[in-house]
Amino acid sequence: MSYHANEKGYYGEFGGAFIPEMLFPNCEELRQNYVQVMETDEFRREFQQLLKDYVGRPTPLYFAERLSEKYQTKIYLKREDLCHTGAHKVNNTIGQILMAKKLGKNRIIAETGAGQHGVATATVCALMGIECVVYMGEIDIARQAPNVARMKMLGAEVRPAKSGSRTLKDATNEAIRDWINNPVDTHYIIGSVVGPHPYPDMVARFQSVISEEVKWQLKEKEGREHPDYVVACVGGGSNAAGIYYHYLDTPEVGIIAVEAAGKGINSGESAATSALGKVGIIHGSKTLLMQTPDGQITEPYSISAGLDYPGVGPMHAHLFKSGRGEFISITDDDAMTAGLELSQLEGIIPAIETSHAFAIFNHRKFDKDAVVVINLSGRGDKDLNTYIGYFKI
């Protein structure tokens, strides 16, 4: 059994392409070409070159000595926070902008919640000199002003999504509507392992560079490619897909996914999709999603804007349903505490999304000699105001 997508884009019962006919030609063009394009020598060369010289890869795999000492296990940090633009998101946008160029597209659209993917998209569009429109919920625009300014400085147009709840899911709807209206010249750069096939698989492949590096880096440090556990936070799930990717079909590597419980799973203000979601369709994908009994998609909550997506990538829905992945949800409070702890034990201020993953050590015991690799998916600069407000710094 494989935990990768099959050729129709299904992970077990999850995935597929539940799209209106208006999107069929767009997705079909991508579906027919993405693997072939990615596997050409030219594409690989350009992608690797940009990841090395522009993004700053490989990112270090760092043994966190003081954190390991405290929790009595061996903890390694995969330093995606050191990527250009401050998070793993840029791995995917570099890959997709090259894909868009190969497919002859001259206009890019993207959705963004907190603005990280929007910034990563605006960055690569500036790099390539391609027109860029980023859809962002009206509410998110108001609460993420620095990232809006970054996108504008990079030359992108930020369009407010004014429909529905005016947050990430609505920004995604608006981007999809734009793509329906501009089917020929435009490529849609989705920011996570969500959306219709082939997006979840394509984005996972671009992010798979994370676990590809972990394999040889861990070999150097521990003499083995396989850790005992890989841990990541999951909203849509792209950083998680990246660090799981090369271990998905290696059962001796435990997969741990950390979701945002918000104010508590039963508080009515949560984003723990595996616990609260039911099978349904969101943004063209069959997956677990938070919804009313009547099938209306509900608005999730987390202190971290990057984790409050009402669905989850189909890869992760399958990891959950099959039992291959261990899913844990962490509250706002526990995540914030873990973020502060990492700052003070290791001198690294993580993004609040990432802080959720670090809270695992207070919720789960690991053996003393277990090797745990945790994806440090983003840095905390963007979250400083939230940290300041929370800790009254």
Partner: protein, 253 residues
């Protein structure tokens, strides 16, 4: 489905109207259907509102959000429509997104449609291959037709495949757009209408998206069997309410 076929089997050009159930007021569903039939409309698409209508422009989005706020649900819509066939004889189609149907239960949904006398379903985000593999048998068992969409970008090969799998009509999306996005037809659309007419498909085509008045209705039906008006009708409801529906319809043909 037979009601649809009978209606399409005349010389007359077909006018079909879409509206969102539960809008402007929760209780307007049945009065709107009565007014539409009385005004001479040939077919009705009853929109089942969804929180995230991907293929729709602002007008239908807003009407959907409003209808959901009013308290519209799948169950309530079925309750409102119970007994509708005592008074209404034109074809009734339910149009919506797949997720609410999936949550209701596809089999239960189809059974309920049959019980009420619904003739067909349009679920734009239920893909053709999934429909064929998993749901066609259920739809057929309950006498329901599923209508497929084609767009100017749909290949001839795919159009032929969709035509072969259709039983009723083909929903011809007039241009690459969401609903209500464009008004009027350019040369590109008119060429597309002629290109499709020349394919001589088995199923008649009904054009939707971009039809808002007598002029666009006439242009759309020059080659096709009929046309569907949605956003323009919803705008009319927003401005003038249910009581002047006859005037809106009279202005179309």
């Amino acid at each position: 489905m037979n009601r649809i076929k009978e209606r399409l089997n005349t010389d007359k050009k077909v006018l079909s109207i879409y509206f969102t159930a539960g809008y402007p007021n929760l209780g307007d569903t049945v009065p709107i259907i009565h007014e539409l039939e009385k005004s001479g409309v040939d077919m009705i698409e009853i929109g089942l509102p969804f929180s995230d209508p991907l293929a729709d422009g602002p007008t239908i989005q807003e009407s959907s959000t409003h209808a959901l706020k009013n308290g519209m649900t799948t169950e309530l819509l079925f309750e409102q429509l119970a007994g509708i066939r005592k008074t209404i004889s034109i074809p009734l189609i339910i149009m919506g997104y797949f997720n609410p149907v999936l949550q209701y239960g596809v089999e239960e949904f189809c059974a309920k449609c049959q019980e009420i006398g619904i003739d067909g379903v349009i679920l734009p985000d239920l893909p053709f291959d999934v429909y064929q593999e998993e749901y066609e048998a259920i739809f057929k068992k309950h006498g329901l037709g599923n209508t497929f969409l084609i767009t100017p970008q749909t290949s001839e090969e795919r159009i032929r495949k969709l035509d072969a799998a259709s039983d009723g009509f083909i929903y011809m999306v007039s241009s690459a757009s969401t609903t209500g996005a464009k008004s009027g037809f350019g040369e590109e659309q008119l060429n597309y209408f002629e290109r499709i007419a020349a394919l001589k498909l088995t199923n008649p085509q009904i054009v939707g998206f971009g039809i808002s008045n007598a002029e666009t209705f006439k242009a759309a039906t020059a080659n096709a069997k009929g046309a569907i008006i949605g956003s323009a009708f919803i705008k009319h409801l927003t401005q003038h309410g249910v009581s002047t529906i006859d005037k809106f319809v009279a202005g179309i043909r």
